[in-house]
Symmetry: C2
Subunit: 222 residues, 2 copies
DNA sequence: TAGATTGTTAATCGATTAACAATC
DNA sequence: TAGATTGTTAATCGATTAACAATC
């Protein structure tokens, strides 16, 4: 069953989508689904779904399909949702605060332990029940509590140094919201970045392009 | 020069990264760079960079490399940064507000025209200089001002209906921050989603996996 | 049982890498 | 000129799709 020697990033990136779609199906009361039905609703081929799942084991029943509940459970397991991961937030500016208040860490298997900032106005307060400590206390905190991931919502100028401190303190992953391309000193520390700019620029390309082709189409008219 | 008949999404996704790296190089005062140097700093092969650029034209000089300034300019052009794109924000909750206040729309070639909400406490106010109108006024606003993109930071339950309204009003792209997989009724309207959950779950997988392989390595020891 | 659908191998397709002539 | 590096075609690699026996 453990064949996941080398799972491609393409597959890994699809796992959360599977998880999300299965959750929606579950909420909608769907009990079973075939690879072709799931594929149609997600814009993937049935083959691809079966091939993806094949990396991790056998989760379906021939002639029947997949039980939504248990497939969701299995993919959650693969994603590490039940591993008791924890997270701390570095920087409680607008974005950090927004994510603390809005994002459901728990439904993604993470426990949000604390936030850190240098602003004396917020240090010592709580945001949505989460205590805010002074950034100086980071190392002591991580030594006392196992922290899986540090979320980076500091200014771009502070990004690298705060990242270094998190890595040295011993976190295993950085969830980066700054627009800085982080350099990681230590092996087996993973960075996952959410680049708003990259996303918007991609959209910019797509709508610009769309105009182009529309114009071209018009030119082709008699 | 216009060979970009069918540029793969893999290439398109790299364009913003090129743009970002070239901007950093520019800021650092670097004047010229070779494909191999750029590749090394971005973790790509020189071949891949030349192949990517080849989709769009010839931007370098044999024996010399690329001028950072002009390559950045060209990629910005490809991305549509100079097309006068505009954006409106739907939903001024924590996240919408945070992005309005923090995100540099202008340095990505977008002009942020307005925000919309239903909360009477914010309607009529300004956030970072951006006027907040009542959501009911959306259609009239879009009719009066060309709007390229609608940014969705409403609740997941309102996501689809607000999206539909944007699409019917005539925007050309949706920048989706809700965790809902949007259905688009109209052709040539593009959706680009920022899925925080998908990103965090990917990170969860990677750090969980990392533990696995570490354990396996230990088991292999004598 | 017959029909449906999986798990899994093989074939195809597309993206990445390598190679090298052109040329600055 | 000699050295460097591009633009571009060809080779390789990996991911997606197709096919089908196994089986529920």
């Amino acid at each position: 069953m453990k064949r996941n020697a080398k799972v491609s990033t393409a597959v890994i990136r699809r796992l959360p989508r599977y998880y999300r779609h299965l959750s929606e199906l579950q909420r909608a009361g769907v009990v079973r689904i075939s690879s072709s039905a799931l594929g149609k609703s997600m814009g993937l081929t049935a083959s691809q779904i079966r091939q993806d799942l094949f990396c991790f084991g056998e989760f379906g029943q021939q002639g029947y399909g997949y039980k939504v509940d248990s497939l969701k459970e299995e993919i959650g397991e693969i994603l590490g949702i039940n591993r008791g991961h924890t997270v701390v937030v570095m920087g409680t500016g607008n974005l950090g605060r927004a994510i603390i208040q809005n994002f459901q860490f728990s439904s993604n298997g993470f426990r949000l332990l604390a936030a850190f900032d240098v602003n004396p106005q917020v240090v010592g307060t709580k945001i949505a029940g989460v205590p805010v400590y002074h950034a100086d206390e980071l190392e002591a905190f991580v030594a006392a509590h196992p922290v899986s991931v540090g979320m980076l919502t500091v200014s771009i100028s502070a990004a690298q140094s705060v990242c270094d401190r998190l890595v040295n303190a011993g976190v295993r992953g950085i969830w980066n919201f700054t627009n800085h391309e982080l350099a990681i000193s230590r092996e087996n520390v993973v960075v996952e970045s959410v680049h708003f700019s990259d996303s918007l620029l991609t959209l910019s390309y797509l709508i610009s392009q769309q105009g182009e082709t529309a114009e071209e189409r018009e030119e082709e008219l008699p």
